[in-house]
Structure formats: structure tokens, C-alpha cells
């Protein structure tokens, strides 16, 4: 079991390093600042957790600290999705702001609850898992809402943003299901271990999606928020002059 967990951890480190390296070469770091900050945070966390061997005293504590810090950084990815997809649409600006404030509230609540659980003795692994499951469920709801609006209003998405969304959405999905199942089947130790492997493996899979999708970034359709706004204004002016 130590070997599997270590292998998954170090694979994540390698994949994340490659993602950051490639982004540096393709000059994508500034374009997706928030996402690459999340990747950098994950890389640092993965290195830290991999250095502390599984089963050693203190491993669980470090694991949960890293897990929640990266979860909060992951919320920033959702924040960027709101900003890139909803904010450029005039009717959705208010809804986007509300969504972002709700996200902030979620982070604040989760942080407070994390501190409370961390301070409690004895160390309660299940409480952390419950909290992570609830946070992943909230992220899933936000993600689904963002995608629903993207489809309803036909909002264009560049390939890079789509890759980021799919990778992160996949990780959130598997984490949510794995945590829900492992908390339900706490008596069956085998199920719990399987869920742990699934969650770790899903992060590696997400990192692979990002690496492949962002390796050769086709910038032709990678619309920034400013580009989308300019395009919308040009369309509006064109329609106005056509109608007069």
C-alpha cells in the first residue's frame, strides 16, 4: 500500500512539474495565472506529502493540511471560470458576482470548520473526509451551474479553458464519489483503500489531461475576457448600424 501511494504521489509531482515547465516555455503562465498558481500549490503539496511516508506519524495531519489548501486554491479555478465565462455576458454580470461571493463564503466556512476539526482531539480522520466531501459537492454544484449557463447562452470557450475545466471537473467528480462511498462503507476497509487510490489516481489523470491539452495550446480560439468583451461590443455596434 505504501508503494502504491508513493508511486501515485511522485507521478503527480512529475506531471505537475511538466505542466509548469511547458507553460513557462509556451508563455501561458500569465494568461492563466490563477490556474498555474493552483498547479504550483499542488506541486509543493504533493512533494511535501510524498516526502512524509504513508503510515508515519504526522502523515495524516500533513495530508489534510495540504489537501484543504489545494482545495481552496481549486476554488480559485472556479472563480476564474466565472470570470472568463459569465462576466463578459452583460445579463450575467450580477449573477457572476453573486456566484463569486458565494464561493468566497464557502471557502471561509470550510476554513473555519477545518480549523475547528484540526484543533479537536483525538485526531478525527472521518471528520476531515466529511468536510472534504461537502466541499467537493459544493464545487460540483458550482461547476454544473457554470456549464449550464455556458450552454444556455452559447458562450464560446477557448480550448485551453475547456481543458482546464474538464481536468478539474473530473478530479472533483471522482473525489466526491470516492469520499461519499468510503464514508458510507466505513466498515469495509477494502472499499476505503480503493477509494483512497481512486482519488489519488484521478488527480494524476487530471494532471495528464492538463498536460496533453495544454501541451500544444491552439491560441486561435483562446479568448480572453477582454477579447470576448470587444467582440460583443463590435457585434452590438454592427447590429445597431444595420438596424438604422
Amino acid at each position: 500500500m505504501n508503494l502504491v501511494v508513493s508511486a501515485l504521489g511522485w507521478s503527480a509531482v512529475v506531471l505537475l512539474s511538466l505542466i509548469l515547465g511547458r507553460a513557462y516555455r509556451r508563455r501561458l503562465l500569465r494568461k492563466f495565472k490563477v490556474f498555474y498558481s493552483y498547479i504550483a500549490g499542488d506541486l509543493a503539496g504533493s512533494i511535501l506529502v510524498s516526502l512524509v511516508r504513508y503510515g508515519q506519524p504526522g502523515y495524516a495531519r500533513w495530508y489534510w493540511i495540504v489537501q484543504f489548501v489545494t482545495l481552496f486554491l481549486g476554488c480559485a479555478v472556479l472563480w476564474q471560470m466565472f470570470a472568463r465565462t459569465w462576466l463578459p455576458v452583460l445579463q450575467l454580470r450580477q449573477a457572476a458576482r453573486i456566484g463569486q461571493y458565494l464561493l468566497l463564503s464557502l471557502i471561509a466556512l470550510a476554513a473555519v470548520r477545518f480549523v475547528v476539526i484540526e484543533a479537536k482531539l483525538p485526531f478525527d480522520n472521518n471528520a476531515f473526509r466529511c468536510l472534504e466531501r461537502d466541499c467537493r459537492a459544493a464545487q460540483a454544484v458550482f461547476f454544473t451551474a457554470i456549464v449550464f449557463v455556458i450552454f444556455r447562452y452559447g458562450i464560446p470557450m477557448g480550448r485551453n479553458l475547456k481543458t482546464i475545466c474538464i481536468g478539474y471537473g473530473f478530479y472533483v467528480l471522482v473525489s466526491l464519489v470516492a469520499l461519499a462511498v468510503s464514508l458510507y462503507a466505513t466498515a469495509a476497509g477494502g472499499v476505503e483503500v480503493l477509494c483512497l487510490y481512486s482519488q489519488a489516481a484521478s488527480f494524476d489523470a487530471a494532471a495528464l489531461i492538463w498536460l496533453i491539452g495544454l501541451w500544444d495550446s491552439g491560441d486561435a480560439f483562446a479568448l480572453s475576457r477582454k477579447q470576448t468583451q470587444i467582440r460583443a461590443r463590435v457585434q452590438g455596434v454592427r447590429l445597431y448600424y444595420l438596424s438604422t
Partner: protein, 187 residues
């Protein structure tokens, strides 16, 4: 168990979103083509499908009474079946053109800052009622024949005309004639 079901349901929704996102193309939508398609759909609905005289003719009892009195039962049965097919096809066309208009609305709505929440909601209700009514009527006509529920057909047609009215102004520029200059411009 309930918690597991709830979280699994959220997981299923997220999975469906991911699937849709993965299948979606990355390019921006073609607004010009959408405008032309919407204009064609609007014209077809207003002139070809929803005029009251056409709607009332489909379901008028005079034709059925005439054929019943003047022809053999076999001919009446044939006429009845043909009229049933025509009505179902008509309802299908109305539904298709309404969906084209709705697609245009959803794709181009972000360029129209003048659309308020109330008008959006009213349009959404009209679209939903028209599409549901058309589908329900298709099933009803298939099962019970073309002389069923004339009031519902009238309501559906009225909803369709309201939708057409909402888009008439927005798409008028696509069929506007060139202004005729009847005086020479002073040099």
C-alpha cells in the same frame, strides 16, 4: 444511505456536464448564419404555419362533414388518415421553427443589453408552452385523430404568434427595403 444517494446525484449531474463540455466545439458561434436562420424561421411561422386561417382550416369540421356525406367510408377513412398526418407534420414544423428561434435567442441574447428579466421570463414561458403543447398535440392527434382539442391548438398558435411578435422587431433589419430617394440631393 440518503446522503450517498444525494452525493451520487450531484456526481451524475457533474458527469453529464463534463460529457457535454467535452463534446462541445471550441470555436465561437456563427452569429450571421444564426440571424438568417432565425429570420427564415420567423417568416415561415408567420406566413406559412401560424396564420389563423390555416390553423382553423386544419381543424374545421366542414371538410370532414363534406367527405363523410359525399364519399364512401373507405374514402373518408383515407381522408381522415391523410389529414391526421398533415396535422402531425404541421405541428412538427411549428416545433422545429420555434426551436430555431429559441436557439437564436440563446446564442445571441448576450448582444442584446435591452432584454430585461421580465421579458426573458415571458419569452421562456411562451417557448416552453409552445414546444410542450406541440408535442402533446402530436401525441393526442396520433391517438385520437385530428379533430381533438381545438382550444389547445388555438392557445399554442397564440403563443407562437406572441413569440413571432417579439422577434419581428429585432429581426426587421434583415428584410428592410432600401430607402427610395425621391428628391435629388442638393450639390
Amino acid at each position: 444511505m440518503l446522503q450517498l444517494i444525494l452525493f451520487s446525484a450531484i456526481g451524475v449531474l457533474l458527469f453529464a456536464s463534463l460529457l457535454l463540455l467535452a463534446r462541445r466545439g471550441s470555436g465561437a458561434e456563427g452569429v450571421a448564419q444564426a440571424l438568417v436562420e432565425a429570420r427564415q424561421a420567423l417568416t415561415y411561422l408567420q406566413t406559412g404555419l401560424l396564420p389563423p386561417e390555416i390553423v382553423s382550416r386544419f381543424f374545421a369540421s366542414e371538410d370532414f362533414d363534406f367527405v363523410a356525406s359525399a364519399a364512401t367510408p373507405a374514402v373518408y377513412s383515407l381522408f381522415y388518415r391523410e389529414r391526421q398526418k398533415i396535422v402531425i407534420a404541421w405541428l412538427g414544423q411549428v416545433r422545429l421553427q420555434a426551436k430555431t428561434l429559441r436557439r437564436f435567442h440563446l446564442g445571441a441574447a448576450r448582444f442584446y443589453a435591452r432584454l430585461g428579466l421580465r421579458s426573458e421570463l415571458a419569452l421562456a414561458v411562451d417557448f416552453a408552452s409552445l414546444l410542450i403543447a406541440c408535442r402533446a398535440l402530436q401525441v393526442l392527434v396520433y391517438l385520437a385523430g385530428p379533430r381533438v382539442a381545438p382550444n389547445t391548438i388555438g392557445t399554442a398558435a397564440a403563443a407562437g404568434l406572441r413569440i413571432c411578435g417579439a422577434y419581428d422587431e429585432a429581426l426587421a433589419f434583415l428584410s428592410a427595403r432600401r430607402p427610395v430617394i425621391d428628391r435629388p440631393i442638393a450639390s
